[in-house]
Symmetry: C2
Subunit: 91 residues, 2 copies
């Protein structure tokens, strides 16, 4: 949960996730969408991978990244809990 919220906290990382929506991309393709350096993108990809939000697959000299939204369920569940009325509460 901690890693998930941490991963989602950065605007560049959220933008990476949005880029990955509906298509796979190599690390270089992803880096090409942003102005920050490739090592920086590589670092963001690492954090996203640690959070389980993306999957990495090596294909030849490329590393292909794809989105994994299943881990967002945990985030959804927490948000849902927060928005639901608590039992026995007036609020």
């Amino acid at each position: 949960m901690d890693k998930l919220f941490k991963a989602l906290n950065d605007p560049t990382r959220r933008a990476i996730l949005e880029q990955l929506r509906g298509k796979e991309m190599s690390a270089g393709d992803i880096a090409g969408c942003f102005t920050v350096s490739k090592p920086t993108i590589s670092h963001h990809l690492d954090l996203l991978k640690q959070a389980g939000l993306i999957l990495a697959e090596k294909r030849g000299q490329f590393i292909i990244y794809s989105l994994n939204t299943s881990v967002l369920e945990e985030c959804f569940a927490w948000l849902l809990k927060m928005t639901e009325k608590k039992k026995g509460s007036a609020l």
Copy 2:
């Protein structure tokens, strides 16, 4: 959006939001639930307020905080977009 994700990134702040579920609490009440100092809690409350996640109302010498989950809609919407299948995509 940025402030929202930032506010949700810290475990103490998420715990504060959970405490506030179903009941209003003074700043002191909230601080009493945690081991960190009162100024630290005050700072967390400020960030939560900036994100619109809590409301503050002064009552006499107390400041009463309450949850405002409506801003979480934005977060929900983003997560939903991410989990939805993109139009014209194979994934």
